[in-house]
């Protein structure tokens, strides 16, 4: 029945992404233990070896393993002939070692028979070159035939393993990434545009195609490109890619969900800032967000890593999994240096602190041949532990010890940073200054905010914002009507909204907002941007919050409401910007909007953020934590609070908790905790009587 649905779906492709929001999802899982494991590829090894691998995993306190994600050629050796026996054995053997299984659908690696028989399923690169067998991810994401074949394998796997008690979840595909530029994609892009705009005249109007005589007479004239085109086309291409990947995932969700017990979650593993599609949209069809956390140069950036964890937690606004991380080092950077001793453990605990409920290493053991022979692994070529094993084992033991206390807990934030794919894309299409980096805008705010607020949510601008005292929106370049409505409602009800430079320049079609920045928020702000400037050297700035300098970007602001307030002014030496407002603030409803038109230096940024938080009554969870130490809080309604402390610095640090509690890793009580470099403490606060 499901397959017939899938077939029907492909007769009317566009149907699929309309039903995403109505898709069945797994029941919100009950409090789960912390999971700790690795990606394991039993299909690469003789079966008599499996038990030794699983025993070593169990010895490392691993309780989950991810299998099968690239095993299509082993699962379906020839078309329609499925062989699940080996996987049955692997799942059963894992159970014997108290190791649960996450099954991957193998669609990131179509077998050779498939692409030879159905060459139209092969991806075409933007330069027109068709991908071929021998690598992975060489399929076209719009290919009907590929959808049929991938639904079929997913369905067969679900029918076979959907009720296996040792299978706890599903991962669809792997690191969805490359779009295809084949004729099928072109045709579907045109269909997608037709659906969005209705008539070609409407598209021409909203894309302003009279410019350069771009005017289209019909949808099929529209080129398919990801760069160098009309900004509206580029943004729509990204949305089309998003919808197509959403539909690609839904195709398999539809095959799995009706055949799997409700407790089995469905996820996919994504990649940090990856800009190929809108991750908020993609996760609508999924139960759980999961991501792959890597530092190819072997140097953990704890702030960036915190940002990325919070970003992923924001995909579904709930706890997430780290589906892959490096056991020491990777193989794809310029110099694949290893994380120093202790940092692999530090990363695992930072993930948990930010809401991860599972950490998996990639990979357990390297295949003897294949493109990733040099990737870090937990056991070596000979199948015995490599040096990192001991650190992973220690981390596993710690996860086991704290699992009960952490089950069902999650971070709770009262401040949020808005992260918008549309804005990120719109800026990247037209950077105007090569130094303007959207990700840096987010991390710069985060860096300043983190010690002051300690828990931060990173969210889509369309998320429900009512619970937040302060919302930061750096470089919110694209503000659609719906987003404007959401933000205005938030402010009216008492929220504090702080907009950063380049905000509100574009509408939902990536067209310029005719009201000037910040577009639909200009009236509420009581001011607007009179002109923007890319800076090639810093400019001085002063105001009630202090003095400093700005670089990269500066906007001249102008007041339109008499009760709007100037917070900062450019110095008299600033040329076009001399003595002009750089930041303004305006009360609106029960809240207020602040617009900061320049990229502030960190000192000034700190003053601004401190002032805003102070006004909004946001206090740190625990004051006086040393700068090198990160505090992360997880809690559950009615349960105890857990504080995870990590010393990211090089020296030893001491933390005073000021509250009774127990450090769970050592079992020690007492309010003073000493943390060596890379040290971790998991402090369970005593419940108040």
């Amino acid at each position: 029945m499901v397959l017939r649905e899938v077939l029907l779906q492909h007769r009317n492709w566009l149907f699929a992404f309309f039903v995403l929001s109505a898709m069945p999802v797994a029941a919100q899982p009950a409090a789960q233990p912390l999971r700790f494991g690795a990606a394991w590829y039993p299909e690469q090894w003789p079966e008599q070896r499996w038990d030794a691998d699983l025993q070593l995993m169990e010895d490392a306190h691993m309780n989950v393993v991810r299998v099968a994600e690239f095993a299509w050629s082993t699962l379906e050796p020839s078309e329609g002939h499925f062989d699940f026996t080996w996987l049955d054995h692997a799942v059963a053997l894992a159970a014997k070692h108290h190791i649960a299984v996450v099954l991957g659908t193998p669609t990131a690696a179509p077998p050779a028979w498939l692409t030879s028989k159905y060459p139209e399923t092969l991806r075409v690169n933007e330069d027109g070159k068709r991908a071929e067998h021998g690598n992975r991810q060489h399929f076209s994401f719009t290919s009907h035939q590929y959808r049929l074949l991938s639904a079929k394998i997913a369905l067969e796997m679900a029918k076979h393993f959907g009720h296996n008690p040792n299978v706890i979840g599903w991962q669809i595909d792997n690191e969805l990434a490359a779009p295809s530029f084949d004729p099928s994609s072109r045709q579907q892009f045109h269909l997608w545009l037709k659906h969005r705009y209705g008539t070609i005249a409407e598209l021409n109007r909203r894309w302003a195609t009279a410019y350069w005589s771009q005017t289209y007479d019909s949808f099929d004239q529209i080129p398919v490109h990801s760069k160098g085109e009309n900004p509206a086309l580029l943004l729509d291409w990204k949305r089309f890619v998003t919808d197509t990947w959403g539909d690609y995932v839904a195709n398999q969700v539809h095959a799995i969900r009706p055949n799997a017990v409700a407790s089995q979650f469905i996820t996919t593993n994504t990649m940090h800032w990856f800009q190929g599609f809108d991750h908020y949209m993609l996760h609508r069809a999924l139960d759980l967000a999961a991501w792959d956390d890597y530092y190819p140069d072997g140097h953990l950036d704890p702030t960036l890593n915190a940002v990325l964890h919070d970003l992923v937690r924001g995909f579904k606004q709930r706890n997430f999994w780290v589906m892959e991380t490096q056991p020491g080092f990777v193989n794809w950077g310029p110099v694949n240096a290893t994380l120093p001793p202790g940092v692999t453990r530090e990363m695992a605990w930072q993930a948990v602190g930010h809401g991860a409920d599972a950490v998996f290493y990639w990979q357990w053991r390297s295949a003897l041949n294949g493109q990733e022979e040099y990737h870090g692994s937990v056991v070596g070529v000979d199948g015995t532990p490599v040096p990192i094993y001991a650190e992973i084992q220690q981390t596993g033991a710690e996860f086991e010890r704290t699992s009960k206390a952490l089950a069902g807990t999650t971070p709770h934030a009262v401040v949020a940073i808005l992260q918008s794919y549309d804005s990120h894309w719109a800026i990247d299409f037209q950077k105007h200054s090569q130094k303007f980096d959207y990700e840096t805008q987010i991390t710069d705010i985060y860096r300043v905010l983190q010690p002051l607020a300690q828990t931060i949510d990173i969210l889509s601008p369309d998320a429900d914002l009512t619970r937040y005292k302060v919302v930061f929106a750096p470089a919110l370049n694209v503000i659609s009507d719906a987003t404007a409505k959401n933000l205005l409602a938030y402010v009216q009800q008492g929220g504090q909204l702080l907009l950063g430079p380049r905000s509100g320049m574009k509408d939902g079609d990536d067209a310029l907002q005719p009201e000037r920045q910040p577009g639909p928020l200009a009236v509420a702000l009581g001011g607007h941007v009179a002109q923007y400037y890319a800076l090639d050297k810093p400019v001085e700035i002063t105001g009630s919050l202090g003095s400093g300098s700005v670089e990269v970007w500066a906007e001249e602001l102008a007041l339109t409401a008499s009760d709007a307030k100037v917070l900062m002014t450019y110095a008299a030496t600033a040329g076009w910007l001399a003595n002009k407002p750089a930041a303004i603030e305006h009360k609106y409803g029960k809240g207020s909007i602040t617009y900061i038109g320049a990229t502030l230096d960190s000192g000034l940024m700190k003053s601004v953020v401190f002032s805003v938080l102070h006004m909004a009554g946001v206090e740190p969870i625990l004051p006086g934590v040393p700068t090198e130490v990160e505090l992360m809080e997880r809690s559950s309604p009615g349960g105890a609070k857990i504080w995870i402390f990590i010393n990211h610095g090089a020296g030893t640090q001491r933390v005073e908790t000021r509250q009774e509690g127990t450090e769970l890793l050592t079992g020690k009580t007492g309010q003073s905790i000493e943390l060596p470099s890379h040290g971790v403490a998991v402090y369970e606060l005593a419940r108040r009587p």
């Binding site: 021998g134 310029p334 041949n369």
Partner: protein, 689 residues
Amino acid sequence: VRPVRRVLVTWLFLGALSVEAQSSKPYVTPNAPLLGSAWYPEQWPESRWDADLALMEQAHMNVVRVGEFAWSTMEPSEGHYDLDWLDRVITLAGKHHLAVVIGTPTDAPPAWLSTKYPDTLGMNADGRYREHGGRRQFNYASPRYRHLCALIVTQMARRFGHNPNIIGWQIGNEYTDESFDPATRAQFQHFLETRYKTLDNLNRQWSTAYWSQTYTAWEQIPLVNTNGNPGLLLEHKHFVTATWRSLQREQIDILRPAILPSQFITTNIGGLAWSDNWDHYAMTADLDLASWDDYVGQGHLQSARNAMLNDFVRGWRRQNFWVMETQPGSVNWAPINNALAPGETRSLAWQAIGHGADAVLYWQWRDALNGQEQYHGAIAGPDGKPLPIYSEIQQLGRDLELARSVIADTVPHAEIAILHDYDSRWAIDFQPHSREYDQQQVLVRFYAPLQELAHSIDVIQPMTNLDGYKLLVAPSLNVIPQYLANHLLAWVQAGGHLLLGPRSGMKDEFNSLNPQCQPGPLAAPLGGRVEQYYALDQPVSIGKGTADIWGEQLSAIAPDTTVDLMYGAGNGWLEGKPAMIARVIGKGSISYLGTLPDEAAMRTLLTAAAQNAHTTVSTDSVPKDVELCIRSNAARTITILINHSSSLQHATLEGRYRSLFPDVSVVSNANTTTVQLSSQGIAVLEVSR
């Protein structure tokens, strides 16, 4: 021309990977060392030729290379040959006492050929066909192209094969570009089928369960040179080697029966000898003589590097060689094409001779008035008159007239060899893991101190007769299959001392990981192994020095395996762990060094290794900037001193010597001789009798 369906199997597979020399007798260059240049009479009116040849003769040149790109002049239209002009060229050269090396013109097919037979055009890896207007547009695997080559070569062989003024033949020019067209792909698949016999075997050796790469038909296997399975990439290199070799073999098979036995057959190898497009040992095995194109490009002569490259070239056939091209001052293809300083061009030539070159030819005599290389250094200017470099080359000509009688028929001899192996080169370059790991620089780090110790070093491939060497140093012998391990062990048992450098023994002949841990099949004899490798982004301390780029944690397992060096601080994983281990085996020993020590530490370590191996250590006192080379035969020993600096230097040698150059000051006492070398000065010395 009828399409020729040669049986590809014979030329592709017969001994394609064997490096056994086809001609057993070493070629001895008469009247060595020769001096000459490349000359293109077809680019000039015949009335000019005599003036050019007279200028060559005045520069004491005695060889000229012609014909290599002249196909369109030799065969202006299909089947119409005009070789009369070339006959006149050879005769005229003879009048000026210039011997001729004649090139087959198959590196530059004429326009009529590419137009009439577009199937002879090669396809680049990006899927685009090459076209006429550059050179090397041909498809090296095309049977039709090879047939067309055979026709012109046959004509040339008939016409010139018995011309006494021709001393040798050069096939093509700097074999470079492979082809990725469908026909070549089919040949590659056939090559694999011949090599692996069954797909099961190939799937196993390539671990294709990884990423579902599993092949179920030979036709599914792609032809790629990047991002493929490491096993596939290695086989592509083998295929490229076999294909070029068969192209060359076809011309040899036409020439050899038709030409005088005294005429040698060579090809000039480009890529600064170091390019790894194909296996140079295999390619030169079928030739009488190895020759290469020695260019500095940007910057100045790096003496150790260029010394190593000359020794590397000598190692291809383990015989003296030719420098078929070198720069008269400057080139045109570097980012900045600076000229060599006065004296450096002469030093470069003498260095080559010191390392076994029996001829030095400049590229080129005079620049064509149009064409892609107008800016290349030349000896005569666009007006046909000598350029400033002419007098330096003329001085070299005078040098050679003074030294020729004693240098001819001498060769360098070494007790120490550095092992270089293409499978290892390729395997590391496919997966460098650190971009800092430059194999040439790694090799020079071992070579330079060894050269200081012993003056003469061989660079050879390991699967060759190793008798006569006392010490073998293998800087990055990444691929060690069982057969190579056996070969090396037999030599060690008999008294050889083998020093393996980092990354050794990781892979087998299929580029698959050796499951024993490094150094693979040598781990058991070594009684120790690599526990983990690390790409280093900062130096670590070892003993009294430092090491960088790569660090392996070693362990000594056998009780008689000694730890010779330990890591100190700098990397938490390596600190306190063995960096070098060694074990006595039979009458010899194996040592394993897991990192790249700095210059001083490397010198200390290699000095100890040389002493341990009882190699002859030079007692001559030679300043750092002065290079000492020795060529000898049963009758005499010639010492060449090259001052690579621009200051006055003195070298003191054991024994009594006479200088062959009247302007070089030599002072001897009872047992020693002191030589004074001016800036960029050269001394050629013979032991006084």
